[in-house]
Symmetry: D2
Subunit: 346 residues, 4 copies
Amino acid sequence: MSQNGNFNGAKTEMIRVGVIGYGYWGPNVVRNFFAVDHTRVDMICDMNPNALARAKKNYPGLEVTTDPDEILKSPKIDAVAVVTPVWTHYKLAKAALENGKHVFVEKPFTSTSEQAKELIELAARKNLKIMVDHTFLFTGAVRKIRELTESGALGDLYYYDSLRVNLGLFQHDVSVIWDLAPHDLSIMDHLIKGEPEAIVATGECHLNGVEDVAFMTIYFPNNVIAHINVNWLSPVKIRMTMIGGQKKMLVWNDLVADEKIRVYDKGVQITSGDKVRELLVNYRSGDMWAPQLEQVEALHAELEYFADCILNDKTPFNDGHAGLRVVRMLEAADRSIKKRGELVRL
Amino acid sequence: MSQNGNFNGAKTEMIRVGVIGYGYWGPNVVRNFFAVDHTRVDMICDMNPNALARAKKNYPGLEVTTDPDEILKSPKIDAVAVVTPVWTHYKLAKAALENGKHVFVEKPFTSTSEQAKELIELAARKNLKIMVDHTFLFTGAVRKIRELTESGALGDLYYYDSLRVNLGLFQHDVSVIWDLAPHDLSIMDHLIKGEPEAIVATGECHLNGVEDVAFMTIYFPNNVIAHINVNWLSPVKIRMTMIGGQKKMLVWNDLVADEKIRVYDKGVQITSGDKVRELLVNYRSGDMWAPQLEQVEALHAELEYFADCILNDKTPFNDGHAGLRVVRMLEAADRSIKKRGELVRL
Amino acid sequence: MSQNGNFNGAKTEMIRVGVIGYGYWGPNVVRNFFAVDHTRVDMICDMNPNALARAKKNYPGLEVTTDPDEILKSPKIDAVAVVTPVWTHYKLAKAALENGKHVFVEKPFTSTSEQAKELIELAARKNLKIMVDHTFLFTGAVRKIRELTESGALGDLYYYDSLRVNLGLFQHDVSVIWDLAPHDLSIMDHLIKGEPEAIVATGECHLNGVEDVAFMTIYFPNNVIAHINVNWLSPVKIRMTMIGGQKKMLVWNDLVADEKIRVYDKGVQITSGDKVRELLVNYRSGDMWAPQLEQVEALHAELEYFADCILNDKTPFNDGHAGLRVVRMLEAADRSIKKRGELVRL
Amino acid sequence: MSQNGNFNGAKTEMIRVGVIGYGYWGPNVVRNFFAVDHTRVDMICDMNPNALARAKKNYPGLEVTTDPDEILKSPKIDAVAVVTPVWTHYKLAKAALENGKHVFVEKPFTSTSEQAKELIELAARKNLKIMVDHTFLFTGAVRKIRELTESGALGDLYYYDSLRVNLGLFQHDVSVIWDLAPHDLSIMDHLIKGEPEAIVATGECHLNGVEDVAFMTIYFPNNVIAHINVNWLSPVKIRMTMIGGQKKMLVWNDLVADEKIRVYDKGVQITSGDKVRELLVNYRSGDMWAPQLEQVEALHAELEYFADCILNDKTPFNDGHAGLRVVRMLEAADRSIKKRGELVRL
């Protein structure tokens, strides 16, 4: 693409990607960039020689380096995937954008909302794309939930409540909130209409000085309330989200192979009783229904969309602004948790 | 007992109980007072004639009444079980104590901590027993968990996290916190050493003006943190408690028939790394173990203990003071939730 | 009823029942005969004095006896419930019928098909009802499954496959087949159109000389096949039945509290391919649906139906003939298992 | 290896593998042959050009072909993996052995026991290895179960009962028995001491003339009984095996992420009662325990073992003889099912 600068024959374009970071998630990014039609990986960078050796073994023909500049400044690279710890995102993404490369950044987008804003402006000025890797938005599960919320099938939303716990992985630089909550915050941002108003976060540090157990409440307009429970000290891995609406309610269990989403024809209605000011609560308890979900690998769908946004000059919905909204909520949670649950307005 | 006023032949004593309230829980109380060796029910009171008709059908020989005074003032009644809405507890329990009767009261003990204190003093003065129906403390599950925490098997406690959700039952006079959280608060009070320091509660009302979804964080000394998630708008019923300790962690799922408690030989340890100020996190992931639990009906065990406390003049551990401690936390939660998560010190 | 011999005022009739056998299941029968509108228990018989003492404690006003003749010959008893081991059914039911009493008999109906035939004839001659306690036919689950099979929702039936295993209870007189398989045989008989053609049974004895692990295959017309796996040596209790049809398939898990029945919009279709004699197999994999089930206690519904059949002179569908069909299959299974799986035609 | 014919420097040997068949399982075989230290893939063969294109995309440097002879006769190939339908195994494996290549063959080994015997003899004569891909034997689960049976922890074995059902995949040439039962037959063969004595198989064809639902009982000495339930028409995927022993019992659920194996301290013991010839059955119901399992990919471990057997001239336990034993049971099952459950002695 950069080689011929020609968008006309979009069908035959090939976006050449440099991937920085080949630890836990990087290999998935590389594999999928290879699998997607219009992208291929040209170079991989990692500080760890063992990681590079693994990369070499899996992809013999590939260039590898320990110096990110080889990717950031390479004229043949069209796009850079930043798959590194969050504190490095800003610097790497900035250099990539400055060198005219589109950027695909791991979540959370940046360490501060200031950094996020600067990157958004830079990309806009250079007419480059930023996509933040909110992978979950591309799962069959979230797509189905969004379809149910958008179509009004659930009715007015009451709550979003998510349990996302497991044993580790502890990270040195960030708390469990920055590690696990971005998933839910990006999903919430995608599903719930209206801007979040305020956040209350509580939690505790037991080991290395960052919160390893934390609970967030996010207030939305119209009495919609969200709650996120993240924990690095849980003996069992749980990924369960309950979403309650006026008409229907659903439970999303992401760890089961089948029937990840169960929609319940259950609800509560308030009617006026005979006596003055009496309220009657009526329950509706009907069938349960587990819709068939699309069986795509989410990261594959996301990287296809990344290619599509670049080749056809579209603005991704998981762009820098979406990344910024998540970072803002993380910052608010940090402020609240330090004051033991003080309400922080957004 | 009242018949001969003689405690010497304790083995042959029979405590005569009057039960006020024959709605959802009352029938269980009556059935178990019959089943326990040294108690029997002599009279049942309920305002609802249908409830009394049901009582008559199941226990043809029993006296029933719509007037609580017939029980409260009856000379043949030794003890009164108050199985009515919380706002009536104080008045009924007070009258029972004043008339020289021991009292078994539904949870939560009273509507205010002032009421609780008054009842405690009155009982002390009259040398009568108060037992608050914290039934869960008598389950095989909680007894096993207490055994594990007391013996040090779990190591230092990190967190107590409970999910207690279902569809309804909405109550007109109390929020979901007063309805569901007393279970967890009484269990916490039983298991965790040290007094709770402060509470943060958040939640939302969607239907009839009381919170139907709520989240509580309770701070304890030594970085122990408790969290309770209660919800009347959940399409599924969940009763799951996770308890994390330094040595072991456990998950208690109260709704499964077998293996309600799973103890995980999993943990995290912090060691110093090679470099200055480097901390290394080590995971331990071993076997899981589900101990066999006692198979008694909790309420039966509790009422046996009630009889034992009366006949042998023991102070129950679930006495008025235990009830008061729970009411104090409920009051604090109410204050916090009204101010959207403000920290309320206990 | 015996009091006035008058059927006109059916609403006010009361069938007086004598219950023989107050071991494991008897108390449930007694409790439900009390709960049903037109029945009441007048006498309970058991050989075991402890059982009678328990009966007395629960129902103070009731007559109890260790002599079945006191029930069988009592002029005030209208119907006898035989809740005893299978080898006693014939003798007790015969005496009851001879004394002009309707009979409710535990499953399996009798020890031999000859006995069953004799009782059927006797009841017909005396114009009395026999109901065999195939309780499962009255559960919300089986009623829903029957609705689905009758309505054609499942399409042509392919198979019925049931797993019914647990630890014990070993019985001295019968094998695991006679203990557990009657449930499935009666359900199969209720659901599958057409007479079973032949049975193959295999199994093994490990402890006391009767099979404790057994597997039955029952061939029906039109390639319908049924399979029953019963086991007294299973560490876990499982009650799972899969029913496959051409249009839909379902799984019935009787031990879960909710969503006992899951209907899958899944199937396989054979179409002709392009090449001669080529068959293509197409899969259909759609949504799953868990219908809301009736929440009645099955035994209560069954005993109400028993009263209805007596008072309104109806023939129960779970009559002696239904009981006989199950006994015939049990006999065939016994013959097959002794010859290690030999096909036994019915 | 073929390059220098030198076994001395075993550490630096590299076994060059040709893989025939790149459909469903072939890609896993190729990926793992790359990952194992002493093997690498040099050529892939498939009749389907789309499969070859996929292979090319994933492994750009690799030779691909539609002609198996290019692999079978290539002087640079040391070993051939036959990952094709069962009816082609004999011919391909024979040609590979005749050309001096070690063979890794998919299960089931061959279509007939005669073919299996011929290949075993040929390999012996040429001093080449045959390994049959009984992958499950290399899972952490089966290794742990074997440890438990070998150590005597389970006590004398009572039964092996396996449920292996799912929707499809229908195959044109083989029944559900040949498709799914080899897994259990190879595991049984690995775990149960003593030769199987006889087989009873029942089943039914509903779609394309081969059994799609089938049940096998396998009799072993000492009252050990095995049972296998395989079904291509099940709406849900289940992989559950129960193994009952005199001392302990276990349930292996292969589809859960954690705690695949649960060992129950449950059992039944027969003791003599007071009366002559009375037998008492005592139950033991204790804790449950889920041992931590090794987390290796089974196929990786198996291919490492394949390399080890070749380089160090060991005889694999999953050799041609193990493959033959499974094929003999499949043949017996076929004979039995055609005669509707006739006992076939082995």
